[in-house]
């Protein structure tokens, strides 16, 4: 394959935020008809690079050339008009509109100012059909699961250039190149299951063969090796290297990403579960809430890690929310440390020493506009009550200690949490609860959407916390993760706790899968 001219070239890109140098002189190039992975740990600058490219952030230094012409975008619209379309991790479409509208909004076919609904639906159906998807374009977007919405977002972004903009007399020369040249996919697979990922990959390959340059960001290394042709690795805002995927194996890649050898990662794999599990700490009897989860009995011992396995929507989060009092149970009771606790509000649970890290760290956990320090201190202050403020010196000391212990980057207590990367936000949330020294720590998908380095750190932390006698309720989509960490594994299926398996050599992921599939004890 002779190397053609890159469609996109970024040279020496610099981006600074107050107190953070997010990108320092990064080079990046993208060739037509290839899928190019952008890889790096959380906070390495992937999102920033994409946002600079698509006009969400302005450039502080460096140049961007598209098709040999120097460009600089100040809005997503400009980037889109130049042929750079983006599909973000969170689906950015309007759920209240129909699929066809979501594909065409902003460029609907019109005649005399009137939207030609029939033509729009027909063209949308054709486009969806041509891309090999089976979607009813007249249905509202909200009637489809997230995975399909993701695909619709991609259809929208590549559909942009397929039709010349209807002659509104805007003086645009015909064929002036509004076709999508670059498609940016920012972690599109983070909430998809395997089948859905395959469907997405099929679509990506088709677009690549049509000559579109695809920039793909993902935390799943397997996926990168499955679909990408070339990759660029970033670390701490600098370029580490650009490689053809076939030239670099996974171990080499991970070492490039984290900048150190893999020994530390493997350490955890060999780790043995400690066995000094104490007496029962939390006991739930017949706890349930109709429509959310059927009544269940559960026991968590002191120092035990209880992992919850089950499919998305099987009731894992619902179970955790009941134990934390975030939802009010219809039936049953909870005793913590021998005392019955009325779980009518999270305050009761917090008072009894339960901490809950939500899976939606953005919407249910952190306050993005407050600083790291304020976010960390929030729960402790709430536990003490507002009449007893924490002395400033003690507060700063605590915050510094946890920033160091969890390696929160940037290590600046004054940084706004909203500007931190996903993994670091997760650590802030963890720090907030750890500071209250809870007896039971509930972690709901603590490792979702964060990179392998941060993932390992969080898992290691769970292990050491349980060794110190803290009980942990651990929820994760990846069974390997649950299996590695848990003393006991609770299996959920269809909003019901169907089995409790004591972890041991005979328990494997396939055994758990069987239990999930059959829904039976033993």
């Amino acid at each position: 394959m002779a190397e053609p001219r890159p469609v996109l070239q970024m040279t020496g890109v610099v981006k600074e935020f107050p107190g953070v140098r997010a990108l320092s002189g990064v080079d990046f190039r993208l060739f037509p008809g290839e899928i190019h992975a952008l890889i790096g740990e959380n906070g390495a600058g992937k999102s920033t690079l994409i946002k600079v490219l698509t006009g969400v952030h302005s450039l502080d230094g460096g140049t961007i050339t598209l098709d040999g012409e120097s460009v600089e975008f100040t809005s997503p619209l400009q980037a889109q008009q130049a042929g750079i379309s983006t599909v973000y991790q969170e689906v950015n479409l309007c759920p209240n509109l129909s699929v066809a509208e979501n594909i065409f909004i902003g460029r609907e076919p019109t005649r005399g100012g009137r939207i030609q609904w029939k033509r729009m639906r027909k063209e949308a159906a054709e486009l969806v059909d041509r891309l090999g998807l089976d979607i009813d374009v007249a249905a509202p977007l909200s009637s489809y699961p997230l995975a399909v919405q993701q695909l619709v977002a991609i259809v929208r972004s590549v559909g942009t250039g397929d039709r010349e903009t209807p002659g509104s007399g805007a003086g645009q020369a015909p064929g002036s190149g509004t076709a999508t040249k670059v498609l940016v996919l920012d972690e599109p697979t983070s909430s998809l299951d395997r089948d859905e990922v395959l469907e997405l990959f099929r679509l990506m390959r088709q677009l690549r063969d049509d000559g579109v340059a695809i920039l793909f960001v993902s935390h799943f290394l397997d996926q990168i090796y499955e679909i990408c042709d070339r990759m660029t690795v970033l670390r701490n805002g600098t370029l580490v290297g650009e490689h053809l995927v076939r030239d670099l194996d996974q171990v080499g890649l991970i070492e490039l990403m984290i900048g150190k050898a893999l020994d530390q990662l493997e350490e955890l794999h060999e780790h043995q579960l400690h066995s000094d599990v104490g007496e029962t700490l939390v006991k739930a009897e017949g706890l349930g809430r109709s429509g959310k989860i059927s009544p269940f009995d559960l026991e968590i011992k002191k120092g035990e890690v209880l992992g919850l396995a089950g499919l998305l929507g099987s009731g894992r989060t619902e179970l955790a929310r009941l134990l934390f009092g975030a939802d009010h149970p219809d039936t049953g009771k909870v005793t913590i440390g021998g005392k019955q606790v009325s779980m009518s509000a999270p305050n009761d649970a917090i008072g009894a020493g339960v901490a809950f890290c939500s899976e939606n760290r953005r919407t249910e956990g952190l306050v993005p506009d407050l600083t790291v320090r304020e976010n960390i201190i929030l729960a402790l202050q709430a536990a003490r009550g507002w009449t007893r403020p924490i002395p400033a010196s003690q507060r700063d000391e605590l915050v510094a200690k946890y920033i160091k212990a969890l390696d929160i980057r940037p290590a600046n207590p004054e940084a706004r949490v909203g500007q931190l990367s996903g993994g670091n936000q997760q650590k802030v949330l963890l720090a907030r609860w750890l500071i209250t020294s809870p007896q039971l720590l509930i972690l709901d998908e603590p490792t979702r959407g964060i990179d392998i380095g941060a993932k390992t750190e969080i898992q290691r932390l769970v292990v050491s916390l349980s060794e110190d006698g803290m009980s942990v309720l651990y929820i994760a989509a990846e069974l390997e993760e649950v299996l590695r960490l848990s003393h006991t594994i609770g299996v959920l299926r269809d909003r019901k706790l169907v089995a409790r398996l004591a972890n041991g050599p005979e328990i494997t992921t396939s055994r758990i899968l069987e239990t999930i599939a059959s829904g039976e004890h033993q």
Binding site: N96, I105, T110, G113, I115, R156
Partner: protein
């Protein structure tokens, strides 16, 4: 991994059963409101038929007596669909009655000149509020609250007394009735229906209208999809200002006077009509036809209370309150279902 992959799909299909799909249909609240209207009308027929409730003109009077509210509520529909709120409606209506009465009576300007001036002033007021809301990223609640005080204050600058309008051209316009076979409609009612038709066309058949829905559905997404958000937002408040001014003109025709205390709190009637008509206060879902039924329901409550004869007019407020509460609860359960 096949087992894990198959299950969520089945679950997703299961939840999208017919009942949930029906409950999530945005047209459902409009049907509920229409059914409520018909039920109330039927109830009125059975109870007051001897008093002439069955006359077609009683029905048509709903449009004559509430035309101005319909126009104001249509403006409010645009704003609420976009996810905003406009509290200045009542004040702009009051100001328009004062301003036009003053121009016609005290300054002797002809009506043909006064109408475009009044509409222009209202639209410009809306434009300014929209501009501030967008460019300074301030909550619409606060900005339009400022508008509420501003326009009410301007009424009193013009005059502290009410100005009655006896200009012959206004008189004839107010008295004109257009026969419709079964009954007749006033000019104001016809204008209101025309505004309704135009609003329907704009919301459903123009790009601007779809942008209003898109912004109300998810503002951040609309921005990232490259829609011109600022322009749309400003335009929405301009439309509302224009509709308020037009409603003020119709109100002036209906009452034939300008008064600094006209239409106090009417923005709340308009918002109530929009919500009862099934538009989500969070934006993005609703129909202008629903607003028509919302206005008709409010109007019908007033007529029913008049026919009852012994009830105080305050019962209108109580009935509105109860209805509003009921409809917000319906909306809540609907959106709640969508999420789970």
């Amino acid at each position: 991994m096949t087992a894990t992959a198959q299950k969520p799909k089945a679950a997703a299909n299961g939840t999208a059963s017919r009942t949930t799909r029906l409950l999530a249909d945005p047209r459902l609240p409009v049907l509920v409101t229409a059914a409520l209207f018909l039920a109330m009308y039927g109830g009125g027929l059975s109870r007051y038929t001897n008093y002439g409730f069955g006359e077609p003109q009683v029905f048509l009077n709903l449009f004559i007596d509430n035309g101005y509210l319909l126009v104001a509520a249509i403006g409010a529909t645009f704003v609420i669909l976009s996810g905003g709120i406009d509290l200045s409606v009542g004040s702009v209506i009051g100001f328009t009655t004062m301003f036009t009465a003053w121009l016609v009576e005290r300054q002797g300007l002809p009506l043909v000149l006064v109408v475009p001036i009044a509409l222009g002033v209202g639209a410009f007021g809306g434009f300014l509020m929209g501009y501030v809301i967008h460019n300074f990223e301030i909550q619409p609640f606060i900005v339009t609250l400022a508008g509420l005080f501003l326009f009410r204050g301007l009424c009193l600058v013009i005059s502290k007394e009410s100005i009655s309008v006896s200009d012959p051209s206004v008189d004839t316009l107010a008295q004109t009735r257009v026969p419709l076979g079964l009954g007749e409609l006033s000019i104001g009612a016809l204008v209101a229906l025309a505004v309704l038709a135009v609003a329907y066309y704009v919301l459903h058949h123009t790009r601007f209208g779809r942008r209003v829905y898109a912004i109300g559905g998810n503002e951040q997404s609309a921005l990232l999809m490259g829609l011109p958000m600022g322009g749309t937002k400003i335009a929405v408040y301009t439309v509302s200002g224009f509709c308020s001014a037009l409603a003020g003109l119709l109100f002036m025709l209906y009452i034939q006077s300008g008064d600094p205390l006209h239409a106090v709190g009417m923005e709340l009637d308009a918002i109530a009509a929009v919500v009862i008509g099934g538009t989500l206060l969070t934006g993005g879902s609703g129909y202008v036809v629903g607003t028509l039924f919302g206005v008709l329901v409010l109007g019908l409550i007033k007529s029913l209370i008049t026919f009852e004869g012994t009830l105080s007019s305050w019962w209108t407020k109580i009935a509105t309150g109860v209805l509003l509460c009921a409809f917000i609860l319906i909306q809540r359960t609907m959106t709640g279902r969508k999420k789970t």
